[in-house]
Symmetry: C2
Subunit: 207 residues, 2 copies
C-alpha cells in the first residue's frame, strides 16, 4: 500500500482529495471518474490517476472510483485509520484557537491538553482541556501517549522546547513558530508559517 518514496507534491494533494471526496459522499455520490473529479478539483484527470496509482489500483476500468472506498484508502495512507493524541504547547491565542478547533476530532486527531510557561495559566481549563505548567511535561508524557506536539510558542523558545519534547519521546511537531527546527532525523516537522503565507498574498496583490 505505502510505496517506497512518494514526492511531497503528491502527499500535499492527498488531504485535498480527501476533502472533495468527503463532500461528494455527503452529497450522496457513490462513484466518480477521474474526469468528473478533475472538473470539480481543477486538476487534470491524468494527475488524479497518476497520484492514486502511487499507492495501488483503487479504481476499476469502465467504472471509475468508489467514493467511500477511496476515502477509506486515502485515510489509511494518511494514517487517519488510527487515532492520534496531540498536546498544544503554548496556551496563547493561537494555541487556544487550535484547541477549540472541532474539525480535527472527526479525523481522529485529539488535542488532550495544553501547556504554558505562565504559572497563572496553570491548572486552568480551556474548553474542557486542562492547561498545565511546563514543568509538568515530563510527568504528563510518561503517563499519556502523545503523538504530536503543536508548538504555538514564540520563536525564541521553540528550538529549546522542541528539543526537550524530543528528549521526552515526542517525534512529530506541528510548528507555528517562525523558525526551522533542528531535530534528529526521525523527527517529523510540519511548519505553518502564517506570516509567510500572508506575504505571498501581498506579492500577488501587487502584481
Amino acid at each position: 500500500m505505502a510505496a517506497d518514496h512518494i514526492s511531497q507534491a503528491v502527499i500535499k494533494r492527498l488531504p485535498r482529495y480527501m476533502r472533495f471526496l468527503t463532500e461528494l459522499k455527503e452529497e450522496g455520490v457513490e462513484r466518480i471518474s477521474s474526469r468528473e473529479l478533475s472538473d470539480r478539483m481543477q486538476v487534470t484527470a491524468s494527475q488524479i490517476r497518476q497520484d492514486l496509482n502511487h499507492f495501488g489500483g483503487f479504481g476499476q476500468q469502465g467504472y471509475g472510483y468508489n467514493v467511500s472506498k477511496l476515502i477509506e484508502e486515502i485515510g489509511r495512507i494518511l494514517g487517519l485509520d488510527r487515532p492520534h493524541n496531540l498536546i498544544v504547547v503554548g496556551a496563547g491565542n493561537l494555541g487556544r484557537a487550535l484547541a477549540g478547533y472541532g474539525n480535527f476530532t472527526s479525523r481522529g486527531l485529539y488535542i488532550r491538553a495544553l501547556f504554558d510557561i505562565a504559572p497563572e495559566k496553570a491548572e486552568t481549563e480551556i474548553r474542557g482541556l486542562k492547561v498545565y505548567a511546563m514543568d509538568r511535561l515530563p510527568a504528563y508524557l510518561k503517563e499519556n501517549p502523545v503523538d504530536v506536539a503543536v508548538l504555538t510558542i514564540p520563536k525564541e523558545n521553540a528550538q529549546a522546547v522542541a528539543g526537550q519534547l524530543y528528549g521526552l519521546g515526542v517525534r512529530a511537531f506541528w510548528n507555528f513558530a517562525h523558525v526551522d527546527l533542528a531535530l534528529p532525523e526521525d523527527a517529523r516537522v510540519e511548519n505553518v508559517y502564517l506570516s509567510e503565507s500572508l506575504m505571498q498574498l501581498t506579492y500577488y496583490m501587487n502584481h
Copy 2:
C-alpha cells in the same frame, strides 16, 4: 524590477529569504554570499542566485549581497514597502488569535477591525480592535480602505461572504475556511488549510 511571470515556487521562497536575512541583520551581518546563505537556509547557492536574478542583479561579483539592501529589495517585491489594511471576518478563536498577532504590524500589515455575525459580539472590543456586526460591512468599507479580508468563518458561509466582500471592492482574501473560493480572476486568494497541513504530518509520522 517585477518581471513578467515568476513561478509560484520562487514567490513561496521570498518570505523565507526575508526571514533569514532579517535574522542576519539583527546579528549585525552586513554582507553575505549566496554560499553562506545557502549553508544557513539549507538550499543551494545556485537556487538563491537564480531566484534573486528573476528580479534583477542585487549582488556584486566578488563581494556577495548587502543584507540591508537585499531586505529592502525583497520587501519591495513582496509589496511590503507600502502599508496594507486588513479586516478579520469571523471573530471566533482563530480570528481573535490572528487579530492579536504582533508580527504582522512590523511588516506594515495592519488589522483594523473585526466583523462577526453574532449580534452579541457587535460593538465589543478585542485587543483594542472594534468588533462590528456583519451588516456594518458596506458602510465600513466605504469609509475605510481595506486591502485584505481575513476569512476565519465556517466553510458554509465562506463563499457567500467572499462574494459579498468582492462586491464591496475587496480584492485580496486570506482564507482559513476549508473551501476553494470561486471569485473573479482579479481577486487574489491565499488559502491556509490547517487540517490539510496536519494531515501531511500524520502521513510522514506513519511512513
